[in-house]
Amino acid sequence: MKKIINDPNQVVQDMIEGMIAAYPNELKQISGTTAITRSEAPVQGKVGLVSGGGSGHEPAHAGYVGKGMLDAAVLGEVFTSPTPDQIYEAIKAVDGGNGVFLIIKNYTGDVLNFEMAMELAEADGIQVDKVIVNDDVAVEDSSFTIGRRGIAGTVLVHKIVGAKAEHGATLEEVKTVAEKAAGNIRSIGMALTPCTVPAAGKPSFQLAEDEMEIGIGIHGEAGIERKPITTADEIASELTEKILADMNLNNNEEVAIMVNGLGATPEMELYIINKKVNQLLTEKGIQIYKTFVGEYMTALEMTGCSVTLLKLDDELKELLNAKSEAPAFRN
């Protein structure tokens, strides 16, 4: 294991300190927790937005805390859900009197811990609601999930719901748009090489020198198929087709594309994938409204990428374009 770290058991705490040091005016840590909020939290009158999950997916989730996106992110240990007490503190910290909304990636651990925190907060009289994002079309159940997993598409849900809440929407309105966004979004990933959880010290799986895995999860949990590496064009086609097969996209409908790097993939290769995704959609008469290429939801230093498509309507377009001041999502 080659990593630039101090103590493998201290990586999350060290990272949080490094983040707060980088953005002292934008972010603050809720003391005694691994939760990060906007410095101005709670924003009175605004629905507070909380997301989070295991660490190791940076810039998710703390990078998406800021005006126009999240109010707080709760960080668990690497690839491990944060516990309800931490999430509960974040909910309390961002409650501006009009309720708090949770954006949860569909992993059993995340769902149970966030829902438990939700109950704790409700017992305190805070109104809390949630959306569970399950954009990954790869597998129905996985080693970490009942039902589809939540992966990179979650970032676009943060963006859209963040804009809605920023515009002063009620908790109910926020939930409605969150469900629309989550319902319109589909993703799938692939990997060439594994990643190593610092505390584990060794890669969580192995792939042969000529092998790739389609449908892999953002913790390295198994996907659909292992097979010899093909060209970028073939990979892009396979991922796009698997998404489209699961999506009702008609001619002339508009989408946003996200080509997301899993950690160690050169940006060059993400653009090479985007070239083909763009071409395939264009050939099918689908309108590409906006494209995001970069590292949005990583799996430590895994090599690979995911493709996400989000079907848009006027409301979603407006919210996608609204201003965000989160460190990792500026527009």
């Binding site: 491990t80 149970l112 009942i146």
Partner: protein, 206 residues
């Protein structure tokens, strides 16, 4: 049976002892059908519970169980943390204001605890989870006028062993589906230790 604050603390201590002794076994069970952390999770969580409840003075069983719940919730992690946390929290809420805990109150607490696990985990019996141990144990309490310590342990043990035969559909093990047959569910095993510890406390007391 009747549970005082000291009995409750003893129950938690005995549970912790068993979990610490079987930490590697629990992890091995989770390795077969999960992500190999159940022993680590439970040993970390129950050690904290014991540290916590032994460092404080309690007036009511409900308070002991509430602290247990909060500690499990924040220290166990994974799926089992919120599940055990919910169980003890619901138990604590149900027996609030009752001291000591009568058999009737205990049974009601157990009923709520089970309901909490089921609600939290969206699980039913027969899905190869801790529910498959909690559910028959609760049934035993509900169907018995005078609880027999040994029968608590035996009921739990038999239920735990039966999880071997089930195909997993919930939680991490569900991913392994067919592969999961022949393996005891880790959360069922740790639940068994908790009820075995309870049986010993009841025995010592009665």
């Amino acid at each position: 049976m009747e549970l005082q604050v000291e009995d409750t603390i003893q129950w938690l201590e005995k549970s912790n002892e068993k979990i610490q002794q079987n930490k590697d076994y629990l992890t091995a069970l989770d390795q077969a059908i999960g992500d190999s952390d159940h022993g680590i999770n439970m040993s970390r969580g129950f050690q904290e519970v014991v540290n916590q409840v032994k460092s404080k003075q309690y007036d009511t069983v409900s308070d002991v169980l509430k602290d247990t719940a909060m500690t499990l919730m924040s220290k166990v992690g994974g799926a089992s943390g919120p599940l055990f946390g919910t169980a003890f929290l619901r138990f604590s809420m149900r027996v609030k204001g009752i001291d000591p805990i009568s058999q009737d109150a205990f049974t009601k607490g157990m009923e709520d605890a089970l309901a909490g696990i089921i609600q939290r985990g969206k699980a039913a019996t027969g899905e190869k989870t801790m529910v498959d141990v909690w559910s028959p144990v609760v049934d035993y309490f509900k169907g018995t006028t005078i609880v027999q310590a040994d029968e608590v342990a035996q009921t739990a043990k038999k239920a735990m062993e039966q999880t071997k035969e089930i195909t997993a559909t919930k939680g991490r093990a569900s991913y392994f589906k067919e592969k999961s047959i022949g393996h005891i569910d880790p959360g069922a095993a740790s639940s068994f230790y908790i009820f075995e510890a309870l049986s010993e406390v009841i025995k010592g007391e009665g």
